[in-house]
Amino acid sequence: MARELLNIKGLKVNIDDKEILKGLDLNINKGEIHIIMGPNGSGKSTLAYTLMGHPKYEITDGTIEFDGELINEMKADERAKKGIFLSFQYPEEIPGVTVEDFLRTAKTSVTGKMQGIMAFKKLLKEKMDLLEMKEEYASRYLNLGFSGGEKKKNEILQMSILEPKLAILDETDSGLDVDAIRIVAEGVKRIKDESRSILVITHYNKLLDYLEPDYIHILLDGKIVKTGGMELAKEIDEEGYENIKLRYSHI
């Protein structure tokens, strides 16, 4: 069985005719945790949205292969069915649609199997307990009136229900207190196994203490300029992005 899950080659992406990603390469194997770190404006969220298939992000060059298939042209829902998941930095609020109804529809769609109401309720409760979410959230409207932390937890809940092959976490740690970070990190670890991979996109390194990443990448001006291990995170932490830029931006 091929180990490779995600293979990005020479990816260039425009938003409104402005080039944001300028030839990005990235390989993620099954069962790995990768962290991409970079300052604001380096293209972190662009990468996340492009991988999920947002129509506003135009791929001008390069390829994205997922699980052996070229997905450049695939719509977001088809990508989700293939096993890609994005935990949003700013999840949308959807009035009138409850968390439970939404997730049951999503699960049905992703698995192609009808989800029995009672069985799904049970599954949802189980996953919510693990994330220390109150049961009432199931019947609340999706993200409506949720605090920043609740929204992030809700993203992790969706991930644990949909069980993707690749979970992309876009700034999931921002705005979370220490307890919430621990709960979220545990949720992420539970989903990761031999065949599932995690891609964490972050400005800071808060989640790093809880996850044990296989690789850390530094993203600067639309390109990955350096790949390494935990020592890279430490370097950024100690020296700040300004110095990191000076050191690596010539690459």
Partner: protein
């Protein structure tokens, strides 16, 4: 991947579009003359005061201009509309006696079944006349009257004469005058003091004839401390010629009484729906309007609440869905005419495929109406760039000891919200439908169950194949 066609010219409205062969017993000539009005009155064996009322209304009609505000009515030529069509059927009290063809229509619309399961009384009007009316015996025993207007005019002449078109006088506007001249059919409900009618009554108005008008009159009187839920359903199959609906609803809610008036109109898209509805509410009484406008080519519909007694309340919950070729101008009017009266307006509209949804509302507070409270919220959702939406909430305050909240929002369906749902494996169509269903959810839960299901189906049908 298989894709549905990108555009649906005209959705399949299923049962609503089933046309029956057009048979009738009596049909007035096209257009409007004193002779036609006299003929209608004679055909109905009406008392002289009603014949005179009709003729006076006709005079008023002829003297009034067509409204020049709101939707364009220049395409509507009353000379082309047949104002009175008596179906080839007598009014019956058992479905078994209703002619097969007509009975079948109402069966497809689910009326007899609803009557068995969830209604305390049913009226069914076909073109100009009521063909079926029935009410549960226990309500009759409590003195509740529910019958067609023609019979009421004979059996309860005094009450009808006291109330008929006093709340909506023929001088209100041109189409109220027209209604006064050619009204036919409709329902009369009288709930005596202290009776709680806990199961709804429903009247269903079906216009089958092409190029015709429907002018039913609904008169409801709910006496002191009583309670009633009345449901009105309307539909018609689609023809190439214009049809006109100019009904009139007059509701009298007495002290401490509560009336909920729910309407779902699903007229076909050749219909001009120019309907007038008003309620007057006495001390501590409550009127609740639930209004769904989905069909018609043009609608002008603004149910009005006059809060006449201290502490009277009104609640308006409305949903308007304007699609291709539709201009729906809807809203509500509230007059706070007494102290400590309260009103709530919650209106939502959806427009798509070039449809035009316009919210037009009036909130008026009289000088003596101190201490009253009002909350108005209107929200519009446009599903594409071709569709239009506007809000015009007029607020007229004549004293400053009041508490008014107002909120209006117009927006397009958010691409980001669609993407968010799609990123969870939900298709673009379903994502849109989900967002729209969520948008109308606060309204859906107020609708009678079968109509809530109907609204959701309509949203699904209308959103299918909208994506290219």
């Amino acid at each position: 991947m298989e894709r549905k066609k990108t555009y649906i010219e005209d959705i399949d409205r299923g049962i609503y579009d089933i046309k029956n062969e057009f048979t009738y017993k009596y049909k007035a000539d096209k257009g409007l003359t004193p002779e036609i009005v006299k003929e209608i009155s004679k055909e109905k064996n009406e008392p002289k005061w009603m014949t005179d009322f009709r003729l006076k209304s006709l005079e008023i009609y002829n003297s009034m201009p067509i409204p020049t505000w709101g939707p364009d009515l220049s395409d509507l030529n009353i000379e082309d509309i047949v104002t009175y069509i008596r179906p080839d059927a007598e009014m019956k009290h058992s479905w078994d006696d209703v002619p097969e063809e007509i009975k079948k229509t109402f069966e497809l619309l689910g009326l007899p079944q609803a009557e068995r399961e969830s209604l305390a009384g049913v009226g069914a009007q076909y073109d100009s006349e009521v063909v079926y009316h029935n009410i549960r015996k226990e309500l009759v025993d409590q003195g509740v009257v529910y019958m067609d207007m023609e019979t009421a005019l004979i059996e309860y002449e005094d009450i009808v004469r006291e109330y008929f078109m006093t709340l909506v006088p023929p001088t209100a506007h041109k189409f109220a005058a027209l209604h006064g001249a050619v009204w036919s059919g409709g329902s009369f409900v009288y709930v005596p003091e202290g009776v709680d009618v806990d199961i709804p009554l429903q009247s269903y108005f079906r216009l089958n004839a092409p190029g015709a008008g429907q002018f039913e009159h609904t008169l409801i009187i709910v006496e002191k401390g009583s309670r009633l839920h009345f449901i009105e359903g309307c539909s018609a199959p689609k023809y190439k010629v214009n049809n006109l609906h100019a009904g009139c609803v007059e509701l009298f809610v007495k002290e401490n009484a509560t009336l909920r008036y729910s309407t779902i109109e699903n007229w076909s898209k050749n219909m001009y729906n120019l309907n007038t509805k008003r309620a007057v509410v006495d001390k501590n009484g409550t009127i609740e309007w639930v209004s769904g406008s989905f069909g018609s080519k043009v609608s002008m519909l603004y149910p009005m609440s006059i809060l006449k007694g201290e502490g009277a309340r009104s609640e308006f919950t409305g949903i308007t869905f304007a699609s291709q070729g539709q201009h729906l101008d809807t809203g509500t009017k509230v007059v706070h005419a007494a102290p400590y009266t309260t009103s709530t307006v919650n209106s939502k509209s959806i427009s798509k495929d070039g449809g035009y949804a316009f919210y037009r509302g009036l909130l008026k507070v009289a000088p003596n109406a101190y201490g009253c409270k009002s909350t108005v919220s209107c929200e519009s959702l446009m599903l594409d760039n071709k569709s239009k939406s506007d809000t015009l909430p007029i607020i007229e305050l004549n004293n400053d000891n009041i508490d008014i909240g107002h909120e209006a929002k117009i927006g397009r369906i958010s691409d980001e919200a669609i993407f968010y749902l799609m990123s969870r494996g939900i298709s673009e169509e379903e994502a849109k439908a989900m967002i729209v269903r969520g948008f109308v959810e606060p309204i859906t839960k107020e609708l009678p169950l079968e109509y809530a299901v109907e609204l959701n189906n309509l949203i699904n049908i209308e959103l299918e194949g909208t994506i290219g």
